[in-house]
């Protein structure tokens, strides 16, 4: 009697999957929420160092300015002229987005200022310049 009660259970399901499923779905929801809103610049640049740099975890639109003046956004190079329209569109989609400009150490301040202006004209007022914390100066 004991034997017959035991066998159907063990060949049907070895373990109860329900708690694992709960856990997995929670993880899934976490990753869906945290990942999908970040727009990467798509290239690596040498960021300047600054001791007083603050963590900008809300900054999720990254615009890179390269040494040669190229502007990269969302994994492709863009012109300074089209930046405003791009930002306007993204700002309508998600008004809470903020911009971080990742400028190369050797890039020109004029290009960075131009990018800041275009972003502000596109409707996003909160713009920061990226810097590596730590050894500054």
């Amino acid at each position: 009697m004991q034997h017959t009660r035991h066998t159907p259970e063990s060949e049907d399901h070895g373990i109860d999957l329900a708690p694992m499923l709960d856990f997995t779905i929670n993880l899934l929801i976490f990753f869906i929420i945290t990942t999908s809103f970040i727009k990467e610049a798509g290239i690596t640049v040498f960021k300047p160092n600054a001791i007083t740099a603050e963590n900008r975890d809300s900054g999720n639109l990254l615009i890179a300015v390269r040494e040669n003046g190229e502007i990269w956004m969302d994994r492709r190079p863009v012109e300074a002229r089209e930046l405003r329209a791009l930002i306007e569109r993204l700002h309508i989609e998600r008004p809470d987005d903020t911009v971080v400009i990742i400028a190369d150490k050797a890039s020109r301040a004029g290009v960075v200022a131009k990018v800041m202006d275009e972003v502000r004209m596109g409707g996003i007022k909160e713009v920061a310049i990226a810097a590596d914390p730590g050894a500054g100066g």
């Binding site: 499923l21 990942t35 160092n49 740099a53 603050e54 975890d57 990254l62 150490k105 310049i129 100066g137």
Partner: protein, 136 residues
């Protein structure tokens, strides 16, 4: 016959639906999102950017003006200073007038690295109200 019916009942009460295919699907989704996940920790500095209206206002109010030339030289009050001297200068001036702001006037050709260093030093000097403008 009677035993088989009892087994089916036990099966139905323990699991309404079979969760295994759903779990497979969910785990696939999870792996996809983990792989595409980007964990960004971006550190940044905030600077103000003047509109034309604010620029006029700043001209009236005498703040500290720091110039960065196209070759990376830093000028405060008509003399060239080292980047390490910016902090001392800012500290002195903010001691005289604690509400003062800094006007950072960079040449368009000035390297961004120097501009950010100056912003950092001004922050260390105790002033967070920095307005960043460029000139050509």
């Amino acid at each position: 016959m009677g035993m088989r019916r009892r087994n089916e009942q036990a099966h139905e009460s323990s699991h309404g639906i079979d969760l295994a295919p759903m779990l497979d699907f969910v785990i696939n989704l999870l792996i996809f999102f983990i792989i595409t996940a980007v964990f960004l920790k971006e550190f940044g500095l905030n600077v103000n950017r003047p509109t034309s209206f604010e620029q006029n206002k700043n001209d009236d109010k005498k703040g500290i003006q720091i110039q960065v030339l196209n070759n990376g030289e830093i000028w405060i009050d008509g003399r060239a200073v080292d980047v390490r001297a910016v902090r001392a200068n800012v500290e002195r001036m903010s001691a005289i007038d604690p509400d003062t702001g800094v006007l950072l006037l960079a040449n368009e050709q000035a390297p961004t690295g120097t501009v950010v260093e100056v912003v950092d030093q001004v922050h260390l000097g105790g002033i967070y109200n920095i307005t960043f403008t460029t000139s050509n």
